[in-house]
């Protein structure tokens, strides 16, 4: 690995803004790293080589001309292919959007660019962010950098793998039920789903609008905080983005865990969990205690209803959001239809993959006449109960710690034909989306087979600061960054 690839954001930003390294050199190192590992990892759908070098040149020119470098000056980043990039294809991992070129940047992408980041490419994902293994991409399979015969998790599998493979120090993913946190856990990198409303959804191609949220994955907790700092904040173009000030997250990283009350929910440590995951999270909890946190057993009694509730609400919203893919305004259009109805039918049947069709069907069913009350309305009510569980818990604790995923990375094909077992991969993450809370996964150990294990830190709504505070304190105790995926041979 070249000397410049694999460095964190803080280091890159200071090298570039002091002129010790140019953004172009950093960008070339990142591209070289990508060329060396991509044939094995396949994190990217597309590398935007020429444009990345142009962006890097602009950063260097701005510095030479005396303009103040942005907080991400010269930092190579990867962006999940569900976030619109002006002038560059955005496929959402779907055949139905093959060749679609957005006329605008998603707000979070525009903010990265304005901060000086260099967008290296678009990353692979489960089609329309539906999946937990990235196997539902219509284009390619992304491999876990820790074990190439295993999945990187999903749906932001490409964004997590690109960071874990040291192609970029940070990336953007999106998370509707765990799609940032679960792949971050399976790839051994930190990743955060911010509070609902913290980051603009403008230009994030919708899956389930009441749950979707974009967020960063990075080499370290600090890298994640630096990116969130840039993308967070109100956007007049997203009426659900919160008109709240964005605190200085780098400050919260230095506060330590001393005095924090940390809730440990009994419902998240039940039988069925991989014993190595259970043991790693529990030993991390001991480290949190050593760092000065006070552990408290809590109960989130409606946890067992989270997956059924999530699959009602997320699929109902998806069936409505995905009605827009009709072959009229953009994307794939079936050839030869001479009437409107067959045009819709054939375009959608040809364009969508199996999992997306399954979820559209489920969503259509739970919203259909005769079933609306039994399923959709019921799901909305149980969502209230799940949110209340957290409100009650946060009266006595400042943060909650759970495992991120019940298992480490699984093998390709292991769950892809059994939708229910795939859905259960998200059992510890969906509750946080239903309640609109911030949640972060950080790596907390390796299994005997050297597969990463993640733990999840959950905070109060809009209290990303406390999540970062505990994450940084635990990261310092866990020293996980000493481990590297075996891509470069034995170290």
């Amino acid at each position: 690995m070249s000397g410049l690839a694999g460095r964190g954001i803080g280091e890159i930003q200071s090298l570039v803004s002091s002129g010790k390294a140019s953004a172009v050199e950093i960008c070339r190192a990142s591209l070289e790293r990508a060329r060396s590992v991509e044939p094995r990892v396949k994190a990217f759908r597309a590398l935007l080589e020429e444009d990345a070098l142009r962006q890097a040149e602009r950063v260097d020119r701005d510095r030479r001309e005396g303009r103040r470098p942005g907080p991400l000056a010269g930092v190579p980043m990867a962006v999940k292919d569900v976030l619109c990039t002006r002038g560059f294809p955005t496929t959402c991992g779907s055949r139905i959007l093959k060749g679609f070129v957005p006329a605008y940047d998603a707000t979070c992408v525009a903010r990265l660019r304005a901060a000086g980041a260099v967008i290296l490419g678009k990353t692979n994902m489960d089609e329309f962010a539906m999946g937990s293994s990235t196997e539902n991409s219509a284009y390619e399979k992304t491999c876990n950098p820790w074990a190439l015969d295993r999945v990187p998790g999903g749906s932001s599998g490409g964004s997590a793998a690109a960071v874990a493979a040291r192609e970029v120090p940070a990336s953007l993913g999106t998370d509707t039920g765990g799609s940032i946190r679960q792949p971050a856990a399976l790839c051994g990198v930190p990743g955060m789903k911010p509070s609902y409303g913290r980051v603009s959804r403008f230009g994030l191609v919708a899956f389930a609008s009441s749950l979707d949220q974009a967020g960063p994955i990075g080499l370290t907790v600090e890298d994640v905080a630096r990116v969130l700092q840039v993308i967070a904040g109100h956007d007049p173009r997203d009426s659900t983005s919160a008109p709240l000030p964005v605190p200085d997250y780098l400050v919260s990283l230095r506060h330590g865990a001393s005095g924090l009350r940390v809730g440990v929910p009994a419902e998240y440590f039940r039988a069925g969990m991989d014993p190595e995951v259970d043991a790693a999270v529990k030993s991390a909890l001991k480290l949190a205690e050593r760092a000065g946190a006070r552990l408290e057993e809590i109960s989130l009694p409606h946890t067992e209803y989270a997956i059924p509730t999530y699959y009602i609400i997320a699929t109902a919203e998806a069936s409505s959001n995905l009605a827009r893919y009709d072959g009229v305004r953009y994307g794939h259009r079936a050839a030869g239809a001479d009437r409107m109805a067959p045009l819709y039918l054939r375009t959608r049947t040809e364009g969508f993959g199996a999992e997306v069709k399954r979820r559209i069907m489920l969503g259509t069913y739970v919203l259909s006449a005769g079933y609306y009350d039994a399923y959709y309305l019921k799901g909305q009510k149980v969502r209230t109960l799940i949110r209340r569980d957290f409100e009650r818990a946060f009266q006595t604790v400042d943060a909650i710690v759970t495992p991120t995923s019940p298992t480490p990375a699984f093998r390709f094909g292991e769950k892809v034909d059994d939708p229910l077992s795939m859905y259960l991969s998200d059992i510890f993450t969906v509750t946080i989306n239903l309640a609109g809370l911030p949640g972060m996964s950080i790596p907390c150990g390796l299994t005997r087979d050297r597969l990463p294990i993640g733990l999840q830190i959950i905070g109060r709504r809009f209290d990303e600061e406390t999540v970062f505070r505990l994450a940084a304190a635990l990261e310092a105790e866990l020293k996980f960054h000493e481990h590297r995926p075996p891509l470069d041979g034995p170290s």
């Binding site: 049947t349 259509t364 109960l385 859905y423």
Partner: protein, 95 residues
């Protein structure tokens, strides 16, 4: 089975999707197993619980009604499968 073949065919029609015989069989099995799992919600008493559709973010949902530039017609049509004289061309809807 929580859902039968005829019902799956009806839902497919509503969703504008078409399936082969084999796919209908598989879809029926998959949806049934998911719905069986979802049925555990019936055990919860929720008659007095308010439903929620989203978590409120304190945002003002209405902006000032001021004119701002928007996407040009050319940009809006740039991805159209069949643009025609500044419009989206579609097959016959009626007749």
């Amino acid at each position: 089975m929580a859902i039968g073949r005829d019902e799956v065919l009806h839902i497919a029609k509503l969703a504008h999707l078409e399936f082969s015989d084999e796919e209908i069989g598989r879809m029926t099995r998959h949806l049934s197993s998911i719905l069986d799992y979802v049925a555990q919600l019936e055990a919860l008493e929720t008659s007095a619980v308010e439903p929620m559709s989203h978590v409120e973010s304190g945002a003002h949902t209405l902006r000032e009604d001021t004119l701002v530039p928007s996407m040009s017609r050319e940009e809006a049509l740039a991805n159209a499968p069949e643009p025609d004289r500044g419009l989206f061309k579609v097959p016959k809807v009626i007749g």
